[in-house]
Symmetry: C2
Subunit: 262 residues, 2 copies
């Protein structure tokens, strides 16, 4: 079973399109969890236990771990075996480099670790991501439209014709099938997300930006944005709450899983 099939099986099992971002800003850990790699680990185990039956996927953004150096990467290595194997696991690394180096970045997430998918930055060109696509059983999410305001500087800068995000989608869809390729498409600019969908009808979109970043889910759903995986991070793992912390986490995850039901 390749990653694409695993994702589709997971959709069918859980009947939603929720991906939970395990993006643990250590400054925000709740009381009782020290701001250290081991505090991070304990916190994540609780998050996983509280949400595992509710989501299709977990996305691990490496930035929040790399800040602790090797000890942080060790946390990633230790939590992965605690996650049920049917979860679609995304390495949110946004890596970019040329051939020789790119090969090792790919091996880091696909051989040394058992990720099903990774997020990749296409700026350096098609050849820079080839080593990731050589893993034909994996799903590679290429950044097309990101959810930050600065995406307008280059990705949807209308002074460029054709717009950069359109050219990225065109070039990659020409070369790779939907079993091997998906796109990161932010929810904060629904009009462009819908445009991206028209350019790549069958490809899976990994959609960050709903929840804390304010993306408009309703508009995206009306526009038939599927197939898509919606990532929610802060809103679930750092909920506003006054009662039991991980009960609040579970309630938030439940709320999103219902909102994202299929």
């Amino acid at each position: 079973m390749n990653s694409f099939e695993k994702l589709n099986k997971s959709y069918a099992n859980y009947k939603n399109t929720l991906c939970i971002g395990l993006d643990p800003d250590y400054h925000k850990l709740p009381a009782g969890f020290p701001q250290t790699p081991s505090g991070l680990y304990d916190f994540l185990i609780e998050i996983i236990n509280a949400t595992q039956d509710l989501a299709v996927s977990y996305k691990i953004n490496f930035a929040f771990y790399e800040v602790f150096g090797s000890k942080g990467i060790e946390v990633i290595e230790k939590i992965i075996p605690k996650i049920s194997q049917d979860k679609f696991l995304i390495a949110d690394v946004k890596r970019s480099d040329i051939g020789n180096s790119s090969k090792f970045y790919a091996a880091a997430v696909y051989d040394n670790l058992p990720f099903d998918a990774a997020t990749l930055n296409p700026l350096m060109g098609m050849d820079s991501l080839e080593e990731f696509f050589n893993y034909s059983n994996k799903l590679n999410f290429v950044l097309a439209l990101t959810s930050n305001p600065g995406a307008k500087d280059f990705l949807y800068n209308m002074n460029f014709y054709p717009t950069l995000f359109r050219e990225i989608i065109r070039k990659f869809t020409e070369n790779y099938s939907e079993e091997n390729l998906g796109f990161v498409v932010g929810a904060t600019k629904p009009e462009y997300a819908i445009n991206a969908r028209l350019l790549a009808p069958k490809y899976t979109f990994l959609i960050p930006g709903i929840g804390a970043q304010g993306g408009d889910l309703e508009q995206l759903r009306k526009a038939n944005i599927m197939p898509a995986l919606f990532n929610v991070s802060r809103d679930i793992i750092f909920p506003d709450n006054s009662g039991d912390y991980f009960e609040a986490v579970r309630n938030k995850a439940l709320e999103y899983s219902q909102l994202l039901a299929i």
Copy 2:
């Protein structure tokens, strides 16, 4: 002393512009060095001992370490204290992410590790790299023109007007001074490198692509490409040789330090 001043002092001390890339493809380690993190560490210590008095700078491409997971990052943590503190140390990470995550990527190389500079991918826009530029004492090298053939897909794709690399240079130079900003500009397309220089006369260029990748150094020198730091990786750390391995490494480094004399 900020990174920019440190670099300039290093130029004056060593009288060359050589940066040695510590990019140890573990498959290529010479006999006697196992293809493991500890083999990597022992190899790098020998490389550093053989070259330390010859180069201005070392650049560490994280891909070659991340392939070993936390144990690989530990190698980076362990070799840095073995490098003389006057070396200009570059984290070749080509990172890119939005605010919250970007902050932790920056802390990973500038707080948790003592790098003087980092390479960064600007695709996601100006705000995505702001957290790196908030370290006003560090030199951030933004990818502008990379040395791989695929750079033509987006960075110097002439269907875009203005060309993407020109727009990247324009936006970043408008916002940051040469004490805080430099650019990665490959040697393999001298005509564009010269164009980049005209757009950013005072900014330091980190120039990969001479040596194994075949960049034309003479053409760049004639065009007054300075201030620039020239990176050589494979040609120095994996020399063709039949005699003593690290003597060959030293001879190659010496050769490049003379070629890049100032």
